[in-house]
Symmetry: C2
Subunit: 321 residues, 2 copies
């Protein structure tokens, strides 16, 4: 098979630049864009490998969706608007039906958030999808991991553990008698996470630190604590968790704490900005819940109804051994 790069791009991915800020899109040696004044450029890259990050027989549109969604989630965690993406697509063969579905999955999510595909590379090899995403944030407003201070309140968006339960359902690692609609809900949360871009932007000038929850709350909140040189206390009973996960008892707590893949945001807010946060949250349709507080003393302490919980026992819990 000779994978003809230019035919492939022209057939499936080429669209004329839809935005004024794209000076030159797909079809040259590189893309050229203009960056709005008084903004900083925010850049991330994530790779998904078949057989590692998704089963090799996953639907192509689901693969494309997720490859972009995890990158958009990084933009959300920085408080950025996502503008442009590049795609590195490695394919074992030229399968037109697969490519058609892939490009539709990518386009649907890109269009929803106003992201333009401006370039990339297609190569032959084991199925691997790399999305490189570029966004803008007003200068000085990027949400870093390193700004949390003792006394700040810790919040999470949405609901945690849904994607982890979805994965266990998909892999038949758990027996749960669920109505089809609920089963579909958890699978969707795994395959089609909603990047919290509006929330991230609403947190500019409000949150002192932020991260997206890709590896589980304990690991990702741990990154904020490490980067900020602080500790924290969180309260399990305040975690936003589906009733089905509550029903699993103690074993269920590993899902919100360690399973990851939720792509919700975890962020910290100084208490004096509480009213500002409330006002900002009203402008975005994304529930957030306070789950604890940043402390001077390093380490992460997890309480359940006031009692200390040993987090070592949670499956998949690696980063705080």
């Amino acid at each position: 098979m000779a994978l003809s790069e230019f035919e492939l791009i022209a057939r499936y991915f080429y669209r004329a630049p839809a935005h004024d800020d794209v000076e030159l899109g797909i079809g040259d040696d590189a893309a050229v864009v203009s960056v709005a004044p008084d903004h900083s450029l925010v850049m991330a890259l994530d790779t998904l490998v078949a057989g590692v990050h998704f089963p090799a027989d996953s639907r192509a549109d689901d693969i494309a969706y997720k490859a972009l969604a995890v990158n958009l989630s990084d933009m959300a965690a920085m408080g950025a608007h996502a503008n442009w993406m590049l795609l590195g697509l490695t394919l074992p063969q030229l399968d037109e039906a697969w490519l058609d579905a892939f490009s539709r999955g990518l386009k649907s999510l890109a269009d929803e958030y106003g992201v333009v595909l401006i370039g990339g590379d297609t190569t032959r090899g084991p199925l691997t999808v790399t999305v490189q995403i570029n966004g803008l944030v007003p200068q000085g407003q990027a949400l870093k991991r390193s700004g949390a201070q003792a006394g700040d309140l810790i919040y999470v968006s949405g609901q945690l553990g849904d994607a982890g339960l979805g994965l266990q359902l998909a892999l038949r690692q758990i027996q749960l008698d669920l109505p089809p609609a609920r089963r579909d809900y958890f699978l969707q949360r795994l395959q089609r996470p909603s990047p919290r871009l509006a929330l991230g932007r609403a947190l500019g000038g409000v949150a002192s630190a932020a991260i997206d929850i890709s590896d589980g709350l304990l690991a990702d909140l741990g990154h904020i604590l490490d980067a900020s040189g602080v500790g924290a206390e969180i309260h399990l009973e305040q975690l936003p968790v589906a009733p089905e996960i509550i029903g699993l008892g103690q074993q269920g707590w590993s899902l919100p704490l360690c399973a990851g893949d939720d792509y919700e945001l975890c962020f910290t807010v100084p208490p004096e900005r509480g009213a500002l946060l409330e006002a900002r949250l009203r402008s975005v349709d994304c529930p957030c819940r306070c789950i604890g507080r940043i402390e001077t003393h390093s380490g992460l302490r997890v309480l359940y109804n006031g009692e200390k919980v040993e987090t070592d026992s949670f499956k998949g819990y690696r980063h705080f051994d």
Copy 2:
């Protein structure tokens, strides 16, 4: 094997941002950089797959060098300065000696051109290297493929076909009695191409179109012709080619014309800018040679000492069937 992303990055790739324009480097959800005013952002991405773009047992420093060099070449072809890169590295296992060599290969070339690694992703899977490169160009000065006009002169930099001969030597597809130094020269041209960044920047406001020669002169000049809606005539005897390739006779012409991997620049210049071009070329240490002229009539005509040459006969010649 659990590939611990953060340990890996910290050990091999982390370096504090060396440039004022890097607001936030490796270690957050995304990198943040500031773009100089009155400049456009130029972005490209190229993927190299083991067993496809390089033998799986290639030296790690050579793989890293080439993965970055081909991206720098795209910046050169746009007339841009290369500033920041992201790395997507998929590895079958955590091999410290390999990673150490890879990071040294990447760093040596990055330092030579002042490029900073600001982010990326490491994943487990078949060996694949994606470099995403970002550069800046003064607004309106990007060198596109689409600006060539009838009457413009066609130039190429350096020497064409060296990398193609290097590949044939590496694969033992050709028997040539070469002195060791000459053999090494051709292998180096294959494994360590010199991206023509200084030349590309010198061509800003001079060249009407430009491309880097990655797929061979016929294919890449063809892209300029297609994008510009013009044709051209080139003269084989004017091509800058090594004497060893000349010695191969007619069979040798497929190397400069079709083998690719030279990463020289092909560009067009309106004849009235000839003196300006000469002045600019004196400022960069890179020989360039005029090989032909753009014409109104579409298609690419190849002459040798005034006689038309049938290019269909050249091996690997696909794009002008």
